[in-house]
Amino acid sequence: MSSVLLSVEKAEVVYKRAITAVQGISLSVRDGQIVALLGTNGAGKSTTLRAISGFLGLDDARVTEGAITFDGHRIENRPPHEIARRGVVLVPEREKVFQNLTVAENLAAPVPRAADKRRLEDQIYQFFPRLADLRGRVGGLLSGGERQMLAIASALMCRPRLLMIDELSLGLAPVVVQDLTRRLIMIRDQLGIAILLVEQSAAVALSISDYAYVMENGRIVLDGDRERLNSHQDVQEFYLGQSDGNGQDSTTARRSYRDVKQYRRSRRWYG
């Protein structure tokens, strides 16, 4: 089995010296693994990713407890550029591109430039042909999906060892999502990059990840490999929207959005 690339141990994140958003979670990502982080609103998924990448500074937040280790180095509360240079790159959920730089400049700005940047650039333009058309346009004027593409592309330009994507499919058209997931697997296979992603569509997440964690209220409540989660009743019911989650044949019985009942189950996993 491959070695552990990233490990988070009992990490706790506190906002504004007052609000605990992540409460002692532990998770790990191995070399070449794709790991998904699922969870409800406000579970602390984004916070976790930001803590790993040192992105917390501006929100007056810090990792107050626990350890984050990447490739044998402790990285919690380190400056983000240092973490980025070690190879941990994040696509944040908001403000993900440089608004006033053009698409081409956005791709050129990252500092740990891949050695084969020309080729990578070509690859990226091939990958997101839409971006090639937009090369000279400023980031701030792009459409939502275009921005997401650009953000992922510019993260790839850093040639990361661990790529973290917050809200992978956010605002992307289905065809792009399909393509992207396929491409990520390819990237992982070819380059050995590990990927940690937060994704709202559990179906998409579970289709590409090797391992997944489910977060709720700042804690990890469930984890396991793809098969285990796919067959977990609660996951089926609340994340995949499959009939009533009684473990029957999963692919057929999708619940319709037309007849949803009111769910009040938030506390079910507390115990």
Binding site: F98, Q99, L101, A109, P112, L142, C158
Partner: protein, 290 residues
Amino acid sequence: MQLFINIIVLASIYALIACGYVLIYRVSRVLNLAHGELMMLGAYLVLATASLFAGHPLVALGAAVLLSIVVGAMVYVFLMRKMTGEMVLAAILTTVALGILIRGVIVLVWSAQQQYPAQALNLANPSLTLVGDGHISLWSAVLVATNILVYGALFGFLRFGRWGMRMRAAGQNPLLAAQRGINLHTVYALAWGLSTLTGALAGILMALDSGVTGSMPIIALKAFPAALVGGLDSLAGGLVGALIIATAEVLLIYYVDPLLSDVVPFLVLLAMLIVRPWGLFGTREELDRV
């Protein structure tokens, strides 16, 4: 002819000062209101180095210039670094406070008296006669030349290096920039060092031309409209803006009323901004894309 020379000299002064504003604005969206004081400090540093390297004016000048880069970088490391990510207005106010501090220290060290670095260095300031019976003093001429050099060097540096772009990136979204591996501290310290350097050059050359007193920082304030007309984040803008403002000012003094020379640059600025709210060459600050 003399008018033309006057315009060029004044424009050079403004441009040299303006580029200091531009450099720092670019990386941090902060208007450095201590720029005038840093500029003045450069001039006073010459007095210090002059006594240190008596008899070697060039060494003394060089030392003062180097010192000013160090001062600029130190300002960042010990002060502005703490302000990264804070509200822009707070950072601007910090520069105001820094200005007060520098002014106080200068009075303490050098007293409030008028000082003449040129005298301390034993340098003369002869008037050169140009074609068409135009006159320019030696140090004004040097200032014009320096200005051209500085802009040339900065253009080269920012255009062909990746740093110009990175400075802009860092200015807009520091966190993301850091995430993309850009060391904000390097970029900022660089900007502060360069900005102080150019400011000090302006200060030193003006002081060599006509001495220095505590009121020098106010001149930096007058370079404001220049930086803004051109666009606060554009180097080329600084140059063109300085030219526009200087032309307006010189012609106004000559043909209309010298009293207006204080007000009109700002009127020009207002008129300009109404047409192009982000300056002639500046980039649009807020992209209103929803």
